[in-house]
Symmetry: C2
């Protein structure tokens, strides 16, 4: 059994979900991978909150350097979100020789070169499957199993909040404001939904995918982005009369000469399109490779447990190579 | 650039597709992986057939030992199909220290222990993504990115021929024999379709998945299997009256006590089920993990180029670790 020590940054919803899944599936993970994964330090200010499990004494810390300077820690898992201090924390961990796993789309989209180059120059692993599509293993498939393909096109439904709102508007004929309010009450939308409904969250994810799929760095603020805030029930009626539904799509194309374009916008999809039936909080990506043709990946794009699945998959991938 | 020498067993449709995709995407693969993949020997008796490309002099051989005994060959790609001599060839290559990539579901389902144990005892890689779901990266996702999950259930449409026939029967109301004949004329069914329509091909794939998903070895002949040969237009009408379609499903369940069951049979699916809209020659797998919940993977489950995508993905995965 190979023992791997993990320093966890952040024990919010995603961090707590990751902790729980690791404990719940520990026997399974040990049996199938031969890895003994231990969260030995957790950076978190809120140490009293009831998360449904007890963190052993001495694991919590309020001092980041207690993790970055701990020679026993192999992998740092960054789940605090936001651009800073997350980016600085990840870079510090890498420079200290620790591999990094992150679910942080905002920090990675904003600082892609810094983080990937720091990981490379430090000789450490850096994986971020959970940053796009939650539990759906998109990044692994694109960068590993499908990497013999040249990709020509992709279309993604990459935000559960907006897809939930559009699904309810479409199926119930209700106006945007009513559905948003219901989504907030049910926990499918945040109290401040701006980043979701204006498309910024999707632009962050598309920015990451552009680097991985087409090798093109496009900053999120340079992606033409339109959200869903001005969509009306009339828009859905018009789409339906034309045999279509409306989805907030992240789309990207690569022309034969290598030029790429990408955008985020509410788009009509024919009802027979493979993404048309992706309802509620689900996410999906359609990607076209020149050998494999069209592939669609579908699943839960958010939530503590699906995200934990991706985070722990990355941790295991790095741990296997340590 | 790391140079990797490949010995290819078989230059039929899949072998030729793999050769073509490697040549077509060579620049892309070199740029993104740093690997210079070279097919240096090809075992094939039919060396005169016009495949649309020219094999350089000295690459063809009729002698398997010319590949197994060649110290320069790193990876053997087995694409001859059938249980023997494919199994013996793979085992010989492994014992000679060569990693093996295969698309051969029949040989792997029949000889799973022999092949995986020979690979392990020889310290070589053994990958077979293309054996289940063609170009869809199912095995990689299940064994790598999702491996923190305990799986509870899966349902697959894993045979393009039968799904094509069922789709046409469903949508056109035609009897089985007429649709089979049309499928044969269009190349979606073989001249002898027995292995497909009786469900044996799906049972082979489900046998492989049972080992990977549930860690349970179930020989294909021990999987309760019913094919599609006795399905009638009346069956489709009855299903439609109940809001359902009929699909040939490979299904497997794991109970909380660890016992598993699996079977292959034509099954009713509610029209809103994520697999109900998988039409014609497409394949899909729904798998449920205890962290990630339901995931669906959809794409082309056969054909030279999708299969080549999976084969080359496996070659690259092994080559990166050599």
């Amino acid at each position: 059994m190979k023992r791997i020590s993990i320093g966890l940054l952040g024990l919010g919803n995603i961090g707590a979900g990751t902790y729980k899944v690791l404990e719940q599936n520990r026997t399974h993970i040990e049996a199938t991978t031969g890895l003994d994964l231990r969260i030995t330090r957790i950076l978190e200010l809120d140490q009293e909150r009831d998360r449904g499990f007890t963190v052993p004494p001495g694991v919590f810390t309020e001092d980041p350097s207690a993790i970055f300077d701990d020679p026993d820690i192999d992998i740092v898992v960054e789940l605090i979100g936001g651009i800073e201090p997350a980016t600085s924390f990840m870079a510090s961990a890498m420079k200290g020789g620790k591999s990094v796993v992150s679910a942080n789309k905002a920090a990675i989209a904003e600082n892609y070169e810094l983080l990937t180059e720091t990981a490379a120059s430090s000789g450490v692993g850096f994986r971020f499957e959970a940053s796009v599509g939650g539990g759906i293993p998109l990044i692994g498939a694109i960068t590993e199993h499908l990497c013999a393909n040249e990709y020509t096109e992709m279309h993604g439904i990459l935000n559960g909040t907006t897809n939930y709102i559009l699904t309810k508007m479409s199926e119930q004929g209700l106006p945007y404001d009513d559905v948003l309010k219901e989504a907030q009450e049910l926990g499918f939308a945040e109290a401040d939904p701006t980043g979701d409904v204006k498309g910024e969250d999707v632009a962050n994810k598309l920015s990451i995918l552009m680097s991985l799929v087409f090798g093109k760095r496009v900053r999120p603020e340079d992606i033409p982005t339109r959200g869903i805030t001005r969509i009306t029930p009339e828009d859905f009626r018009e789409a339906a009369e034309n045999g279509c539904v409306i989805k907030l799509l992240a789309s990207a194309f690569r022309a034969p000469d290598g030029t790429c374009e990408c955008f985020v916008q509410p788009s009509w999809l024919n009802k027979t399109h493979p993404l048309a039936e992706v309802r509620n909080e689900y996410n999906a990506l359609l990607i076209r490779g020149n050998a494999v043709d069209d592939l669609v990946f579908y699943g839960k794009g958010a939530g503590p447990f699906p995200t934990a699945s991706a985070v722990l998959g990355d941790v295991i991938a790095i741990a296997r190579r340590l």
